[in-house]
Symmetry: C2
């Protein structure tokens, strides 16, 4: 049994310093939970002079990542740089030199998971990434462990804190996307270039990771449908409220006839649904299992403490495995080869807002286009605007996406229609 397990950390930013703070502050309790002492032996970062929120002994810091990767006394490498390069190469070097790896890097796992998971398994090492999805919420480990008896049928949730913060404030304050995103940037809740969040890339990475674990198959992140929140506005927020819904950016992954459908898009969520109450930077993930039914995991989706908690949870698990000589005890679970489906397989209710001329028979003309494609209508709201225009809001019953798209194509070509202003899918 190893009395001391040494840790090297690469990337001393928000997540990295959160993890180090926990490892040092709770060192004694963690030692008792593992049976061995966990020591942060080395921290590598390009910048080791800017003070961090949590100060460490300067002798631990280095700008030379090789001195960490080549140190034979280091048992576990934590990677919290983010991005694919150079993080991926550092991780591969760590694994090839016999170190287990814990990472928070969703982009890397989503794009190159295949590069690391089989390699770690083959080398008898652990490669863990709980912090890559849902911040501090335990979700990957429960899916691989406590829920492993289930065939998982669907995973669905709010997986991006920044967009949820923006949408929550748009709803509460009745303001548009542009106004809130600017304020969110000044407050540090959105990046200067917010596209990774607001265009749905981050949520797509996380949805791909969740789908991959849930459905025991590799998931090509490029085949995850992705639609961001930049087109949402105060008008749609208001109509959503009027109709009994809240707009959320959801990641949804499901199994249809053995194939995977994974998508990220703004969604009308009924006010009675628990996801409607998940606000600000919180995340929540629903898992539907064949035996358990529906379980939900909820908590802070971002932040130093939350992500640090998830990283340290993984480190503790790896340390227990190192102590017992049983790394790689959970085999790589991507043993299926499932095809992926596109959006044509979606069947759902839809919210559609159309700007049209305020003339007799306009409503009937549009309704006919829906009817021609068997898209039946649950409710219609027509509001006459000032300049002889009418805003017509439609809520359809469940309909196949190709039929809805076909109807909207035809409707947008009607001479009485000025534009199809919005189309948002509605969750059951």
């Amino acid at each position: 049994m190893k009395e001391t397990i040494n840790i090297g950390l690469i990337g001393y930013g928000i997540v990295g310093s959160g993890a180090v703070k926990i490892l040092i502050e709770n060192e004694d309790a963690i030692a008792r939970k593992v049976g061995s002492r966990l020591v942060v032996k080395r921290i590598a970062d390009l910048d080791i002079t800017t003070p961090r929120p949590f100060a460490v002994d300067p002798s631990v810091l280095t700008t030379d990542v090789s001195s960490l990767l080549d140190d034979h006394d280091i048992d576990i490498v934590i990677e919290t740089i983010g991005g694919t390069k150079p993080a991926g190469d550092f991780i591969e070097r760590a694994l090839r030199s016999g170190k287990s790896v814990v990472t928070a890097n969703k982009e890397l796992i989503a794009k190159e998971g295949e590069r690391f998971l089989p390699l770690a398994a083959q080398l008898g090492l652990d490669f863990m990434f709980e912090a890559s999805v849902g911040g501090g919420i335990p979700i990957i480990s429960p899916m691989k462990g406590s829920l492993a008896g289930n065939e998982i049928l669907q995973v669905k949730g709010i997986v991006n804190g920044t967009t949820n913060y923006i949408l929550t404030r748009m709803r509460m304050e009745g303001l548009g996307y542009e106004e809130i995103v600017k304020d969110a940037q000044t407050r540090g809740y959105a990046e200067a270039d917010p596209s990774a969040d607001v265009d749905g890339h981050d949520a797509a990475y996380k949805t791909a990771i969740l789908a991959s674990i849930a459905f025991t198959t590799r998931v090509d992140v490029n085949r995850v449908y992705r639609e961001g929140i930049t087109n949402l506005n105060a008008t749609d927020m208001r109509y959503a409220d009027e109709l009994g819904y809240v707009i959320k950016l959801l990641g949804i992954a499901q199994i249809i006839d053995g194939k995977v459908l994974a998508r990220v898009h703004p969604t009308f969520v009924p006010k009675g649904h628990p996801l409607a109450h998940v606000d600000y930077v919180n995340n929540a993930i629903f898992v539907r299992g064949s035996a358990v039914g529906e379980v939900m995991f909820y908590g802070p989706g971002a932040g130093s403490g939350a992500a640090g908690s998830a990283v340290v949870g993984d480190v503790i698990e790896v340390a227990r495995n190192i102590r017992q000589g049983c790394c790689a005890r959970v085999p790589c679970t991507c043993f299926d080869q499932r095809d992926m489906l596109g959006m044509d397989s979606v069947v759902c209710k839809n919210y559609i807002r159309i700007l049209a001329q305020d003339k007799p028979r306009v409503l009937a003309t549009i309704a006919n286009e829906f009817a021609d494609r068997n898209v039946s209508i649950e409710s219609v709201l027509q509001k006459n605007l000032l300049d002889s225009d009418a805003e017509i809001v439609w809520l359809t019953h469940e309909a196949p996406e190709p039929m809805v798209r076909g109807a909207l194509d035809a409707i947008s070509k009607l001479s009485v229609v000025k534009q199809v202003s919005s189309w948002v899918r509605v969750a059951d």
Copy 2:
């Protein structure tokens, strides 16, 4: 590496047959998740003739539990009899004959956990009990794993499905406890003798287990304060609603100055709190960690599939450990010796309903008793009843429980007061 891992199950009831159904129906997928095949080799029950919802090969069934416990080929024993006797003796025999154990038995863990956890650790075996709390919700494993970096400060939640079902229906239908419990019994949601649920015993067992894991200490279940739901009525439900609350039976465990305060009692939960939306047989558990902040786990708290899912999740974890020769990789985490506190340490808001004479100065007289003990009042509602009585509903600010109790003792002795009809604690 063992190619086949054999399982014996004792107690073929709701939970046991749920677990067996999953193990058999998902056998192939589970084998790939473990790396070895899991085989249900023997099922022992006193009754092996009554048909179960899931049929197994009759040759697997036995009424002779010793033939299972003495079978050297059986690696894992699942205990789903419930109760302390004879379950505890069977589990001890299983451990002493070198078998790891998975159980759903909350009463046994809460009362005699100390008998099994150190024994299993000493013998190098696993002893797991995810299904004992929260039905199908992963909660014990995440606390021991993903959240293990945190000092856990509070665990709070709805942990009994039967009482939550009764309270949900009382609220929705405006009926009293007696009416709903009778209907719940005929529908199979409450036992013929419902006391284990409605008097809070079941919730106390689960709260003791949660507290013990959260605070890394043994918890004496007899020192968990316990108050059931049998005194709740439609009137209090209505006032709760009027004041912006929902009444839930909560288990609450917290650390105060290093000591453990654990309690089960009806609680006013603000309508904006996620726990207020957990209805019917669902359970939800909040965990507050020093690093992660607050995370919530939600899902079905009972039922064959839910509990079976939790049991099989444990079995899969144990099987992975057996395969790698690393059972007992998670040490027993009760390494602290913490004292337990009583209800005198509670500081909270309170809902109090008083029946008094409808006379001048009654309100002031009662208010003086609160004021004398520094119990300040957030709001008061007075309703005059038909027969010259007045019903006065008080919502206090946060106050120490001994002060509130002192005030109520004095108030109940006032000549103008007919009775203190209700006293329910209010959650923040």
